[in-house]
Point group: C2
Chain length 218, copies 2
């Protein structure tokens, strides 16, 4: 599949590399074509990899990943161009972390709204699926780094879009029973607001190689 990955940070590079390794054609997008991070990534990632502007990557992909910094995602997607998102599955991996007040970061959107919802409202013709944002990027694409029946959450308004994302997560190594569909895109409030607990656990454990398992009766 042709996939556009917006964002050249560690999350974007990790996801894009995994997708290219799996045989997908991947175009990484950044504010302008030819950024050092993107060009380096293309050199590393092999023949399935290309790079360009946000619009280039979004136009190229049949399915898109938003891996931009959460505080910049709405602007990045606007630059990518609404027409390039139209009818496409847009996997929103970003968290709206705000580091302007120092550490720990706060969320620039939360409580009665979420980044996932804002993106869906701003781009109503995109099929937004919030996923993977509760997990360190190394674990996102290699769940076996962490033992146990830990889970990845997905939510979004479109069932077929969530099915496609579930398929891709399966390619990443996530068994179907560990992909937890939380319902509509408003559930992104839950997965984004989990970030402060994730950060506290990261501080406690000293590693990002962890995740949550849901223990339940019955």
């Amino acid at each position: 599949m042709r996939i556009g990955v917006l964002g050249t940070g560690m999350v974007g590079r990790t996801i894009a590399s995994k997708l290219a390794e799996l045989g997908h054609e991947v175009r990484m997008g950044s504010r302008a074509a030819g950024t050092e991070a993107a060009v380096d990534w293309v050199a590393d990632a092999g023949p399935n990899a290309s790079e360009g502007s946000f619009g280039d990557a979004a136009g190229f992909g049949e399915l898109l990943f938003n891996c931009t910094a959460g505080g910049a995602s709405l602007e990045a997607l606007a630059i990518a161009g609404e027409a390039n998102l139209h009818g496409k599955v847009l996997v929103d991996v970003a968290n709206p972390l705000d580091f302007s007040g120092g550490m720990p970061p706060t969320l620039s959107i939360c409580n009665d709204d979420s980044l996932g919802e804002r993106i869906q409202v701003a781009f109503p013709e995109a099929l937004v699926v919030k996923a993977l944002n509760t997990i360190n990027c190394a674990v996102m694409v290699d769940p076996e780094r962490v033992p146990g029946e830990h889970v990845v959450f997905v939510c979004g308004e479109n069932a077929a879009a969530k099915e496609r994302v579930t398929g891709l997560l399966g390619e990443f190594g996530w068994p179907g029973e560990r992909i937890v569909d939380l319902g509509g895109i408003a559930a992104a409030r839950g997965t984004e607001m989990y970030l402060p607990l994730w950060l506290a656990l990261y501080g406690k454990l000293g590693t990002g190689d962890f995740n949550v398992t849901i223990a339940r009766s019955g």
Copy 2:
């Protein structure tokens, strides 16, 4: 031990009943002595149980549980009387849920602050330990309702206070290795902001008999 439990809702009654069953002397506090919920609870809970005003319960207890509704906790503690909190461990179980906008609730405090922190700031001589607020009350006092190595989080500024709470959690049935100390009281932001995810999981699973396990490498 003499324990005061502030709040006559389901969380307060469940915790107070468990404490009385364990042999502690428990006084439940509400806005005024003699509320129906408190009087009924005393009749059920046996000879270790008594009830009174917030001040009665807080004065009685060597250790206190805040089980009032999160949006009313600061006022309830003020009514209980700062002098009655002085030097005492105050286990804050409340979540600042705001139902004024309908379902799902939002948080009346979050992101750059938390109820746990607000209570510690308002009552600097109390030894606030945030705990148990990520778990359904039936599971709080009977962790074996849910199988697996699921965890309870504690945080607070005073190590000795957290030790005492850890001891009480052990009496509730929580093994030490499943009591996760997240550090200072600011980590209450993490455990309180987890609530929207808890609510989404509750909606998905159709039961409160669940909890999270931390899966980690190494």
